[in-house]
Symmetry: C2
Subunit: 229 residues, 2 copies
């Protein structure tokens, strides 16, 4: 069995990604972060899903992205609500977190070198997404290239790092269909950027809207618990 | 005045690097990390030197590299002592920290995007060094390329990130000569991987040996306070 590190927020995409890694025969080590996000409730979901899907391990690490700020997810900036698809496609929203996936992948790389694991999974996709630049294939490819120049295990020829982004070309409905085929219980996952105090999804942030639309388009009943509107 | 983020350990190289950034007219924001290193005393040096050189700001962030381990600097592995130059050149030593410069540069990138700063300085050099792969020019170039695909400010054309490694082609003696010309007080800096409880340098780890040799070759009296041998 080969090891893989799976970046894992406990959301719909990364939960699917963890199931994919498992289905491909990897010992899947899930990696989550407490990075100052307003929706730390996602970490409860991450623990539930890691257990449900049988992750080989689950590490939750602290990162000081909140100290750096610059995002509606980590600083005192309102999360946009009720945006339509055209608005989402127009620009990179304030929920973008500076260098987040670069930092997350770097930590995954560190853990991968120690495990060791030659494979890192990240659940980014470039179709039904919020326009974040660090979700695009050109970013993932450039990170992988850099990673193979960065670490001892790669430079000395024992690991050839591969960054897998198996959801890159799928829309949200396809991701849900794929995950359901792999036994993912999406009722355990959490995607909302701005949940209520008791962890209910707002139903109105970009992340909720994309998720809700995915369930509709997949013709699957949406298991998400929303705040009563 | 332009802003720059300078990765800054409080050691000889990064202190020189901070002085170089200042001499090039940058507002130099120093960035240090408490990452589980055994030599946290370097952070006291970092505070002294940031103040001495007039950094525009100094941020010390916590990073969980100690949780990941895999290095003599962050885990319970002995720091090698008394190695000669041939031994240092032979392989990558156990003081290598998995993905450290990738993680550090990623955090620098996040801060740079928020400041904003288009310039990041890192004091790596590929001559008098310990053979760490993430100190080589090909790594720095690959990181810069990735960075310009990763962040919103670059992708939207407002920042073109540049990673400066002004010490890359200098030996330790040249670095010291350059820094002294810029007014760096090396007596304030700390390089030792394995200092005594009261912060004296061991004089025997790779970092001490490279530093000591640098002062000798530069013909400069070594201001380092060593443990009595």
């Amino acid at each position: 069995m080969k090891n893989a590190v799976v970046l894992f927020s406990g959301g719909l995409d990364s939960s699917t990604c963890l199931a994919i890694a498992k289905s491909q025969g990897y010992n899947a080590y899930a990696l989550s972060f407490r990075y100052g996000q307003r929706h730390t409730v996602e970490l409860d979901a991450a623990r539930r899903v890691a257990n449900h899907l049988g992750a080989a391990g689950h590490l939750v690490l602290d990162l000081p992205l909140g100290t750096i700020g610059g995002s509606a997810l980590t600083a005192d900036i309102d999360v946009p609500k009720d945006r339509d698809t055209a608005e989402m496609e127009q620009d990179i929203p304030v929920t973008y977190v500076p260098a987040r996936n670069t930092v997350f992948l770097s930590m995954a790389l560190a853990w991968a070198e120690v495990l060791p694991a030659a494979d890192i999974f990240i659940g980014v996709n470039a179709l039904d997404y919020s326009g974040y630049p660090d979700c695009r294939p050109e970013f993932v490819e450039a990170f992988e290239k850099m990673a193979n120049l960065a670490i001892k295990e790669a430079v000395e020829g024992r690991l050839m790092m591969k960054v897998h982004a198996p959801l890159m070309r799928l829309n949200k409905a396809q991701i849900i269909e794929l995950g359901m085929g792999l036994g993912v219980d999406y009722g355990l996952t959490h995607s909302c950027y701005d949940p209520s105090g008791d962890g209910l999804a707002c139903g109105r942030c970009d992340s909720c809207l994309l998720r809700r639309k995915g369930f509709e388009e997949a013709g699957v009943s949406d298991p998400t618990r929303y705040v009563p509107q």
